[in-house]
């Protein structure tokens, strides 16, 4: 009698139980082990797989698919002559490298399709565009055009300019997109504006369905003034910028008292506003000022329900 092979010869119910305990990456690897396992996995796709899949593109360098498995597993695709250099990394260490014929975007798309077929839902956790060099927009546009419509919960623009963000944003499915994160916003040089600090003009972006439908936004724009009206449609907002007018901070308070959507608003300012103006509007803080942290806190009753609005002012050295 031939000896039994672990897993392969297990009863279906047992096989399924083992598969349930595996991450997505391991299941995809298991498909390649033998015909029996591949057939079983394809006919009985594991149901409880909550592994997060993220895509990061670094124009001019590579595009990668990242999974937590439980270590960070990455598949990295780089253009290599007429082919594609493909790296398999575990916890950021390269485990294997191969070169395949064909355009790197084709190879990336093929692998992404294969992964998402077995993912518990066809939506990425995050799609990140990391722009470290200026003027490589063409490559990102080509990648996004080839993908067609990106289904992701979050999009991250790192080092991009506002014009680039406006051009890339329409590629993301607005029904799936919940979070927009803008990090290290690139300041485009304009001849007619010599100031180091300029107003953040979101005119091109805020008309998009993606901006209107998202619930969370996080923006890091240290060289900019920010107008708060651009962010009052979100549930959660985190802004880091150069400066904001006291009138805008008062507007946030008024919006919280009337909006059912706003939930959390955090602002980090490089140049702090005049506290006296805040006292004139808010009154003195509701709690005694902590002499060590200089933290101040106000409470306001929200007229429409029993919730209380809390505003904290925390100076940071």
């Amino acid at each position: 009698m031939p000896s039994q092979t672990l897993l392969v010869d297990f009863p279906a119910v047992v096989k399924s139980k083992v598969l349930e305990k595996l991450d997505l990456f391991s299941i995809l690897k298991l498909r390649k082990v033998c015909y029996n396992l591949r057939q079983f996995i394809d006919e009985n796709p594991p149901k409880f797989n909550s592994c997060a899949v993220e895509v990061t593109t670094t124009p001019g360098e590579c595009i990668s698919i990242n999974m937590k498995s439980p270590e960070i597993v990455s598949l990295v695709f780089r253009p290599d002559g007429n082919g594609c250099k493909m790296e398999w990394k575990v916890s950021y260490k390269v485990r294997k490298v191969v070169v395949e014929m064909g355009n790197y975007i084709d190879v990336f798309l093929r692998e992404l399709e294969g992964i998402m077929k077995y993912h518990w839902r066809p939506v990425l956790k995050s799609f990140s565009i990391q722009q470290f060099e200026w003027d490589v927009r063409r490559e990102v546009s080509e990648e996004l055009t080839r993908i067609g419509c990106v289904h992701t919960d979050e999009v991250v623009f790192d080092g991009c300019s506002l014009d680039q963000i406006a051009a890339f944003l329409p590629f993301f499915n607005s029904d799936d997109l919940n979070k927009i994160r803008i990090e290290d916003l690139f300041k485009q040089e304009k001849e007619d504006q010599e100031d180091d600090i300029r107003m953040l003009n979101l005119q091109k972006i805020k008309q998009s369905e993606q901006w209107k439908n998202s619930k969370h936004v996080k923006i890091e724009a240290w060289d900019f003034y920010v107008k708060i009206r651009d962010f009052l449609n979100f549930e959660q907002v985190e802004i880091k910028c150069e400066m904001m007018s006291v009138q805008d901070i008062i507007l946030i308070k008024e919006s919280f008292l009337t909006s059912s959507r706003l939930d959390d608003f955090s602002i980090g300012l490089e140049n702090y506003h005049d506290r006296e103006q805040l006292y004139a509007s808010f009154g003195f803080p509701s709690l005694p000022v902590d002499p060590e942290t200089q933290e101040e806190e106000w409470f306001f009753r929200i007229p429409t329900n029993e919730d209380v609005l809390s505003i904290r002012d925390v100076p940071v050295e």
């Binding site: 298991l30 390649k32 082990v33 439980p70």
Partner: protein, 190 residues
């Protein structure tokens, strides 16, 4: 027939006798049988937990004496553990095990296979889940080639009779000629 006694000797009132497929009898403390849903249900149905009920030996036709011995070892070790509860589906699977469990399951593949089937048949969820986790821990993070070694699968690859170089007999093992890294289920576009 011989009669095996577990480490703690059960008294006639608080035990049942189970018979393995090769005819060996084992005295089992009723406290231990609580870990097996199959045995616990049987005991409840036949009211074997009552002292005034005659207890017939329970035949376990799918389980050999060697497997039963191994199972009893598990039941004894977990005698005072809290009742097993199924983890939430979003619970992140842990691949760390207590030393005793690692030593207990440090057994050849064929024994592991038999033990898992026995745990499934007797419905011992803690043991069943632990073996599944051990299996998963041996697979996770490995390449297809390494998994083949772990599972002892050799059938898909054959050596060329002339050169001795491994050849792909079943295309599935190389994913239609694609590289080891590739995860895609479909062949690459031409």
């Amino acid at each position: 027939m011989s009669c095996e006694e577990p480490t703690t000797s059960p008294t006639p009132e608080n035990n049942i006798t189970v018979v393995s497929s090769d005819g060996k009898e084992f005295l089992l403390d009723l406290k231990l049988t609580e870990q097996s849903e199959t045995l616990a249900r049987l005991i409840s149905n036949f009211e074997y937990d009552r002292t005034d009920v005659k207890k017939d030996p329970v035949p376990l036709g799918n389980i050999t004496s060697a497997q039963m011995q191994k199972i009893i070892e598990w039941l004894q070790h977990h005698r005072y553990y809290p009742k097993w509860e199924q983890n939430d589906i979003h619970y992140s699977t842990s691949f760390t095990f207590e030393t005793w469990v690692e030593e207990y399951l440090n057994i050849p593949n064929n024994e592991m296979f038999e033990l898992l089937n026995a745990a499934n048949y007797l419905n011992i969820p803690r043991l069943f889940s632990t073996i599944c986790r051990i299996m998963a821990s041996r697979i996770t993070g490995k390449s297809a080639e390494q998994i083949r070694t772990v599972l002892n699968i050799k059938t898909d690859v054959k050596n060329d009779v002339y050169t001795g170089i491994p050849i792909q007999e079943d295309s599935s093992s190389s994913e239609d000629g694609m590289s080891e890294i590739s995860l895609s289920p479909s062949p690459p576009p031409i």
